[in-house]
């Protein structure tokens, strides 16, 4: 099955169509944030402050890119383990986050929050950072510049390849994929 092109920000109307295991090509704007930026988001929310970026409708990619070479928008940019952000993600999902891109399992709290508020978790293939960075056409730091690689960036991607891991219907590719291939010995 050829991958389905999807534009960012994700359209609320297409989210229910996505099923775990679907192959998708993302094009448009994403935010980048890892655990350090998420901890600051959470602190700001607890303090009742406005977030420095609008997460309503947004998709966040869990990545800390390496410095860009001259003439390139971004350095190597591969997904990090999403569970680092698990303690914070529900706070953002409740505020309208529609997509997350990373790798590795999410907690039950994150998954139930995603189902409740309408957010999908998309898996990018780790270890392919140099290749993935070729799908990034622009990048700028938009918050927490002092965090360096962990600063929040707005990036523009074209045909960024991901698989749907957690959909709105309880599907989880990390359960279904291995179950399909498991063998007894």
């Amino acid at each position: 099955m050829s991958p389905r092109p999807l534009s960012l920000p994700l359209d609320d109307a297409v989210l229910p169509d996505l099923r775990s295991g679907d192959s998708v090509l993302l094009s448009g704007e994403m935010l980048t944030a890892r655990d350090a930026a998420h901890a600051r988001f959470a602190a700001a929310i607890r303090a009742g402050e406005e977030l420095p970026v609008d997460v309503d409708g947004a998709t966040i990619c869990f990545v800390g890119p390496t410095p860009a070479r001259p003439g390139h928008p971004i350095g190597s940019a591969g997904p990090t383990t999403a569970s680092r952000c698990d303690p914070y993600s529900p706070l953002l999902v409740e505020r309208g986050l529609r997509g997350m891109v990373g790798k590795g399992r999410r907690s039950e709290e994150v998954k139930s929050s995603m189902r409740e508020h309408g957010c999908v978790y998309l898996g990018a293939v780790e270890g392919t950072a140099a290749l993935l960075s070729q799908c990034v056409t622009a990048a700028e730091v938009v918050a927490y510049e002092d965090l360096g690689t962990e600063a929040v960036r707005r990036i523009v991607v074209r045909d960024f390849p991901v698989l749907v891991v957690n959909d709105l219907h309880g599907g989880d590719l990390y359960d279904e994929g291995p179950a399909r291939w498991r063998r007894s010995r």
């Binding site: 898996g123 270890g127 590719l173 990390y174 291995p178």
Partner: protein, 115 residues
Amino acid sequence: MRRFVVETIERAGPSASPPVTIGIGMGGTFDRAAVLAKRALTRHPTGSPSPDPAVAELERDILDAVNATGIGPAGFGGTVTALSVHVEAFPTHIAAFPVAVNLDCHSHRVREVTL
């Protein structure tokens, strides 16, 4: 021990970025097992069997058990969850048997230099 390794791989799941390379140290006291696991992980060339036939058989068996989990590349499901299993063994007290497991993701790069 095989069950322990398989449980470790299942717990790590997609977060370990499979297909993984697995280094296992068994025997000695735990400090030695940990060092042996690192030495096993960095065995050069990757995928070469232990010179000890019994250990090499154990490596083959563990590799098959790990690949039977179906975790597969990136944890999306598939037949290859580990690329190779390297075991380094050392004598130990019969009541102890420490085992250390050291994983590397699919981007397993090993270089050898002589100092």
